[in-house]
């Protein structure tokens, strides 16, 4: 049995570790277009910030491939999948056959088309080479004076916070009326905005870059949509990613926004799986398949695909959109569906508690008696209990009052659920 994995990030690791739990003999080949071996994309902001050196960006030890008996081909992009022949062909001309194929090609950073976008000093922020390029400009003899980050979402904030820690003056641009609008409600957005502004970041909303001006091929200024032109010698697009599904689409697999998969991560071809940012998998909060580009989903989906490829059925119960950021040392989290405004929706109940001076805010959204979303700013302790409640869909009507209590813990929850969490298997909910 020969398994080919296209891509070499969280999904690939999840798949490899899962395959080897059940099968020691399958041949595993990873093909990646990148030069570096396995590293962690979410660690790039910590690397850019100077909190860790490059060795710690590695997601697994260097002996990972050897230990799990995996062959890796780097610097080669798969360009074609032949579903009928069960082969993949790469840029180098190499053709490899497979028994099972996992497409984990991840996402492509979104770069809006505009004049000057190919200029030197313009970056996206998803790969190690991006972080190294940005770092090189930040640390060169004539370092960056004015950085502009386009995108006020999670990636944008991570880039902003990292650059800020490097002592670079940063302007953040967000097209929506507020930053973090996809995950946070107005109050949490405002809190993070204030923290960033106080730490020296210029936060501009309802605005983006319209044109890049270059001097000798390098970026020098940008003109904003609002008309203003500001100096800029480093531009980072941190808008987000779209599924890198071209390969799957041209092979003839069913693709919507991402590659359509079932609960075992199988695509429309029974020998081909897709997982991670490229896959459109089940989201249990919105109760439909959608692409959610986050690390935990990528790893878990990879593990589910890996298991199924070697005949072990571990159906996916679904993912939840969630993320954590830090702005000037203040942690913030958004879990599930929590950003909607309270406009008197009949099926929704909003609970919140705000301590502005302590930068502490919690907001919970309950739909039809079940928790569907949580936002935490400042104190994030025990946040996972909310995640557990969202995943398990247990009714929380009877414990609403205690969900935001300062002593919130397992004892705030219904006894049966508490015992289930504490004891696990055997006490079903």
């Amino acid at each position: 049995m020969k398994i080919i994995i296209i891509g070499n990030s969280a999904t690939a690791v999840g798949a490899v570790e899962s395959i080897r739990l059940y099968d020691q003999s399958a041949e595993i080949l990873v093909i990646t277009k990148e030069s570096s071996l396995i590293y962690s994309r979410p660690m790039l902001s910590h690397y850019l910030a100077g909190q860790i050196d490059q060795t710690r960006v590695a997601y697994r030890d260097p002996d990972f491939y050897c230990r799990f008996d995996v062959q890796v081909i780097t610097d080669d992009a798969v360009t074609e999948i032949d579903l009928a022949a069960r082969t993949v062909t790469a840029e180098s001309g190499m053709t490899q056959s497979y028994d099972k194929l996992l497409i984990s090609t991840g996402g492509v950073p979104i770069v809006p088309p505009m004049p000057g976008v190919d200029a030197e000093g313009v970056y996206t922020f998803t790969e190690l080479s991006d972080a190294d390029g940005i770092l090189d400009r930040v640390q060169r003899e004539k370092p960056v004076q004015n950085a502009v980050v386009v995108g006020g979402g999670m990636i944008g904030i991570k880039a902003v916070d990292a650059l800020q820690q490097r002592g670079v003056s940063v302007t953040m641009l967000e097209l929506a009326p507020r930053i973090l609008s996809a995950a946070f409600d107005q109050t949490a957005s405002d809190m993070v905005s204030d923290i960033l502004r106080r730490s020296g970041v210029t936060v501009l909303t309802n605005d983006t870059v319209a044109k890049i001006h270059t001097v000798d091929g390098a970026i020098g200024e940008v003109t904003l949509r609002s008309g203003e032109t500001i100096p800029c010698d480093l531009l980072v697009f941190g808008i987000g990613v779209r599924p890198n599904s071209v390969l799957a689409k041209s092979a003839g697999l069913e693709v919507n926004r991402g590659v359509v998969v079932d609960s075992f991560m199988r695509s429309s071809d029974p020998y081909v799986y897709a997982a991670g940012d490229v896959a459109e998998a089940y989201d249990l909060v919105v109760d439909m398949n959608r692409t959610v580009a986050i690390w935990p989903n990528a790893y878990r989906q990879g593990a589910i695909a890996g298991a199924h490829m070697v005949g072990v059925e571990r159906p996916d119960e679904g993912g939840i959109a969630m993320n954590t950021i830090e702005a000037d040392g203040v942690a913030a989290m958004a879990i599930g569906d929590a950003n909607m405004e309270d406009s008197g929706q009949a099926d929704l109940q909003f609970l919140s508690e705000l301590d502005e001076r302590a930068h502490r805010y919690r907001r919970l959204v309950i739909r039809d008696g079940r928790l569907v979303g949580a936002i935490l700013v400042g104190d994030v302790n025990r946040a996972g209990i909310y995640t557990g409640l969202i995943r398990s869909k247990v009714p929380v009507n009877d414990c609403c009052k205690t969900l935001l209590s300062p002593h919130f813990g397992l004892l705030s929850l219904p006894e049966h659920y508490r015992k289930h969490v504490v004891t696990g298997e055997g006490i079903e909910i």
């Binding site: 962690s40 979410p42 994030v380 996972g384 995640t387 557990g388 397992l410 705030s412 504490v422 696990g424």
Partner: protein
């Protein structure tokens, strides 16, 4: 593998588990020094378990050592791993960057922030493969047991 089993009906809330957990994870392994010196020094010494109490009910909560740990899936640094020898889920504190993804996903809320110079996630390590974790060994009325489950 062996896991810590919580019997909340026997817990009298003495918090000796917490005391002995802290001492076990101190450098001195001395109760007085651990509390009076190490805990105050900003080195981040803290109990790896959470004590919960509400009215007559109380219990000590440690990492549940899940079969399919959410924290391991969510960890971005690779710090969270299953110890090959003991099977316990361990946070390699030299790799952890304190992103709090594990805290965001642990359904028991059993992982805590440790605010040392280097921010790290702090959790139960089953006392590094000890025959009996300190909290279990020092629970006076077997509200914590260590069993093959």
């Amino acid at each position: 593998m062996k896991r810590i089993v919580i019997h909340e009906e026997y817990c009298i809330g003495c918090r000796l588990c917490e005391v002995h957990c802290l001492v076990q994870h101190s450098e001195s392994r001395d109760i007085i020094k651990a509390y009076k010196v190490e805990r105050q020094s900003g080195g981040g010494l803290m109990p790896r378990l959470l004590f919960e109490e509400s009215g007559p009910i109380s219990f000590a909560l440690q990492c549940r050592q899940c079969e399919e740990p959410s924290c391991l899936e969510a960890c971005i640094s690779g710090a969270m791993h299953r110890d090959p020898k003991t099977g316990a889920i361990i946070c390699d504190e030299s790799r952890c960057v304190g992103c709090w993804m594990c805290i965001m996903v642990c359904p028991a809320g059993a992982i805590q922030q440790s605010q040392t110079l280097h921010k790290i996630a702090s959790k139960c390590d089953l006392c590094y493969g000890a025959e009996m974790p300190a909290c279990v060994a020092n629970c006076p009325n077997e509200a914590l047991t260590y069993e093959e489950v």
